[in-house]
């Protein structure tokens, strides 16, 4: 059987139902047993103008990134779709509305006039069919999907199943959209001659039946629930709002609470209060919100309060590009705040890891009484992919080691120094376990003191516990691609890692000596595997979505090494094709 790895794109104007169509298509393909990864591109405005694009990558193998090229384009608005043409493969297929509501006055406004010689064009009157089927033109996106389903031999039953799932809260709509969908199917069956060879026919059920289709945000929310999070406080901000919305519905069923508060300062304040008195608590935000939380991050480090903060990054600085992805908050996650303020920073690379690392972050925060920042990004938050979630181990649901009443009766010191850097903890309600925690430097008795020796000891303690976390819990970076010495190494972090893995593996499969390193925990991290990787690689390339090369810099602070940078501020994810091309370029420029 022919291997499938195709990208379908639906392009329209805000209000065309472009993203809804993309979601239904993704769900159906997943139901059919394909591996999918889909991602939407949309403007920050709700209505009126702006291009919406739903990208869906489909494969019979697991996929980790977007390809950057398009095999099949569904155009709901030709004026926008024409802009997508440069990404189309030479033999791409385009499906368009050949009788749109607004008549095309000039030839160059219609996509038909722009296609390359090898491309195949199918037209169907989406708008007209929608009106015939539902007495409204609003369902033209469904007509397009019906035409698509018929053309590419998809399982129509699975399609209707995903329609029902999508509109489960509006059962009255289901019949209407199904009618529009069927109109598209029937039109193609009766009027269109298939010329291309693409097919999404899937005869047998595959192993992906066990997979779930989740976005990074959904996976992160599940991680919070699975790890016993009892309070999530947040303030709406793209692209993290969805985590709050999901938890608002789900957390109360699991004995937890979601508080929507007046600002991000209050969000982390509430989380800090709740964590201080003993429950697992977290907040989520994006860059601008993390700015507001900065003072509290320092306080949580000083007062040793276990909080977890998700920062799903978007284009910055300031309000920036609210609906576009970027990886430019790494400096902030690592360094934000005054003073020497060590914290744990984790950057999951896919939805499965978002789930696992939110749970793990809640565990690590509690065990080491330290804030943990989880760096996601808009791409990771919003992309839909099929994953199998790793269960959260039972023993990670509790990390506090409380002193016994006998020990407490002998005298208890909340700020005691210890070899591990972790002080014994008590919670309100405990007899003889009294404490005062503070943003002031305190001595072991809890009294604010400002002397040199104490500040030295306490600062050391805050760094020591990260060393302990490293020794006890934090996994080392892992290598992929070719083995042994390599001509080129690729180091990446966060959502870019998926593209790096695919690009490196493709290059390695072609016999090139290219290896990659995947680092999940960015602070603290094990030096040795990174040092070994750097020694093994003649040159090291760091692709990331920021201008300054933040990760390359961070590595440069630890290893004296030149890094080749691949920095993009294109407001969209790096594709595996782009990294692959860069790998070839570097290897071909023999020094």
């Amino acid at each position: 059987m022919r291997k499938i790895d195709l990208t379908v794109e639906i392009c329209g104007s805000a209000g065309d139902g472009t993203l809804a169509a993309g979601e239904i298509l993704t769900t159906t393909l997943a139901f059919q047993g394909f591996h999918v990864l889909s991602f939407d591109s949309y403007p920050a405005e709700i209505r009126g103008f702006g291009k919406c694009v739903a990208h869906v990558r489909v494969s019979d193998q697991p996929v980790h990134s977007l390809s950057g090229t398009v095999d099949i384009l569904i155009s709901l608005d030709d004026s926008y779709s024409i802009q997508q043409l440069p990404t189309l493969q030479p033999e791409a297929v385009v499906l368009f509305d050949n009788q749109p509501l607004a008549p095309v006055l000039e030839e160059d406004q219609c996509i038909a006039g722009h296609l390359g010689p090898g491309m195949i064009l199918y037209g169907a009157p989406f708008h007209e069919l929608s009106q015939q089927a539902t007495a409204s033109g609003r369902s033209r996106n469904l007509v397009a999907l019906g035409a698509f389903a018929a053309l590419f031999e998809m399982n129509l039953e699975k399609f209707l199943e995903s329609l029902r799932q999508k509109f489960k809260r509006k059962p009255r709509v289901v019949d209407e959209v199904a009618a529009a969908f069927n109109a598209g199917v029937d039109y193609v069956a009766g009027n269109v001659l298939k010329l291309d060879e693409f097919s999404f026919r899937r005869d047998q059920e595959s192993e992906t039946a066990a997979y779930e289709l989740l976005t990074g945000n959904e996976a992160a929310a599940r991680g919070a629930i699975d790890a016993g999070c009892k309070l999530y406080a947040g303030y709406p901000i793209t692209p993290t709002t969805k985590i709050m919305e999901i938890l608002s519905e789900e957390l109360p069923r699991h004995g937890g609470i979601v508080a929507q508060v007046e600002d991000e300062i209050s969000a982390i304040g509430m989380v800090s209060g709740a964590a201080a008195v003993g429950v697992r608590a977290m907040t989520g935000t994006s860059g601008p919100g993390l700015c507001l939380m900065t003072e509290f991050i320092g306080w949580d480090i000083m007062a040793e309060v276990p909080v977890v903060i998700i920062d799903s990054q978007r284009g910055g600085p300031a309000t920036g590009l609210p609906t576009k992805t970027e990886q430019s908050d790494l400096y902030m996650a690592l360094f934000a705040g005054n003073g020497d303020a060590p914290r744990i920073v984790v950057a999951p690379t896919n939805a499965g890891e978002c789930h696992y690392w939110v749970a793990e972050a809640l565990y690590l925060a509690e065990k080491f009484q330290v804030p943990v920042i989880i760096l996601m990004d808009l791409f990771l938050s919003n992309r839909n992919e099929n994953v199998i979630l790793k269960p959260v181990p039972q023993e990670k649901l509790r990390a506090n080691l409380f002193p016994t009443p006998e020990e407490l009766a002998k005298g208890y010191l909340r700020q005691a120094l210890s070899e591990r850097g972790v002080s014994p903890r008590t919670l309100p309600g405990t007899e003889n376990g009294y404490w005062v925690i503070s943003g002031l430097e305190q001595d072991i008795y809890g009294t604010p003191v400002y002397d040199a020796k104490n500040h030295t000891n306490m600062t050391e303690k805050r760094f020591t516990k990260l060393k302990t976390a490293l020794a006890e819990d934090i996994p080392p970076a892992t290598r992929f691609g070719c083995e042994g010495k390599a001509d080129l190494g690729v180091m990446s972090w966060g959502s870019t890692t998926g593209a790096a893995i695919e690009a490196v593996e493709r290059a390695a499969a072609e016999g090139r000596k290219v290896a990659g390193l995947k680092q999940l925990v960015l602070n603290p991290f094990h030096r040795e595997p990174v040092a070994r990787f750097l020694d093994d690689c003649k040159q090291v390339l760091v692709p990331e979505l920021n201008r300054g090369g933040q990760f390359a810099h961070w590595m440069g602070m630890h290893f004296s090494r030149e890094f080749l940078r691949m920095n993009q501020v294109t407001a969209r994810p790096i594709t595996h094709t782009e990294i692959y091309n860069e790998i070839r370029k570097v290897l071909e420029q023999k020094p």
Binding site: K230, R253, A259, I265, G269, G273, G278, P428, S438
Partner: protein
């Protein structure tokens, strides 16, 4: 007539008696930490401390179930002088922290101790939201009309045109009226006390702790070190007066009118009942299960 004290240890005899009284009758030592307060002699904050200890003792609230959250400023140090669970939070942020703690551990008795700069300046954004959420905690706003810990700058309650270290030509801003704010923000318990009447204050604190919901006490207290002209004990003695006997504390309009009155009324302005933040949040789970 008490007998003549034995020669050589008169003070000791006196202290022991006081300590026994404090321990057994007033329970003060159950809540006092071994750290001595760092407030200036004559500061009104000592009175709140004593009133609070006495209240907790009377209401039989054990120290282990008491959480005192504070911000930054002279009042910020409050938890250090108490034996309980103390959270000395960031400048202005006591209310969110206290709300979070109370929300997840409703069995605890939670206090938020804030100052005028702390609660009405840098942290003023949290005040309306705490009031409208109605978390079951007691917020005492220690108002000395000045920034004390940074040595005498203008605060959000410093009177118009008063000369301070940061406004040598007089304060250009109008002062805020904390009681009026609490009332219009929807606080369910609003009172004012002052440092010269610690016994009255104790009654207010006891009522505030017993009240289910957001209890707000505006506590006027002279800064004896950095304010020599405005909020003095002698001035407050003349300016303050108890709310009239006929004041109806269930009537919001009346409470607002009295809060706006140039007379500085002390006592309980307003009290009402409303479901607390935790009541509502914890009932979501039941609703969630039903759906």
């Amino acid at each position: 007539m008490s007998p003549e004290p034995p020669i050589g240890k008169p003070e000791l005899f006196y202290e022991e008696e006081e300590i026994a009284h404090a321990r057994q009758v007033r329970g003060v030592l159950d809540y006092r930490s071994e750290r001595l307060p760092t407030w200036c002699p004559g500061c009104g904050y000592f009175g709140v401390e004593t009133a609070l200890f006495d209240t907790l003792h009377e209401l039989k609230i054990p120290a282990k179930d008491t959480v005192v959250v504070s911000g930054i400023g002279c009042v910020g140090r409050f938890p250090f002088f108490m034996k309980c669970y103390g959270i000395h939070a960031l400048h202005g942020r006591a209310l969110p922290v206290a709300t979070g703690a109370k929300l997840v551990r409703p069995e605890l008795t939670v206090f938020a101790m804030v100052g005028d700069g702390d609660g009405l300046g840098i942290g003023a954004g949290h005040f309306p939201h705490a009031a409208r959420r109605n978390p079951d905690l007691t917020c005492i706003l220690f108002d000395n009309n000045i920034y004390g810990l940074t040595k005498g700058q203008t605060s959000p309650t410093t009177p118009h045109l008063q000369v301070t270290n940061s406004h040598p030509y007089g304060n250009p801003d109008n002062p805020l009226n904390a009681v009026l704010m609490a009332l219009v923000y929807g606080a369910t318990f609003v009172a004012r006390g002052w440092a010269g009447r610690p016994k009255d204050l104790q009654l207010l604190i006891a009522e505030a702790v017993k009240h289910r919901g957001f209890s707000f006490i505006h506590f006027l207290s002279p800064c004896v070190t950095f304010d020599k002209v405005n909020l003095l004990y002698s001035n407050l003695e003349q300016q303050t007066q108890p709310l009239p006997k006929r004041h109806d504390y269930t009537n919001l309009e009346q409470a607002i009118a009295r809060a706006r009155d140039p007379e500085l009324f002390v006592g309980l302005f307003y009290r009402t009942e409303r479901p607390t933040y935790a009541d509502q949040m914890h009932s979501y789970g039941e609703r969630g299960e039903k759906s």
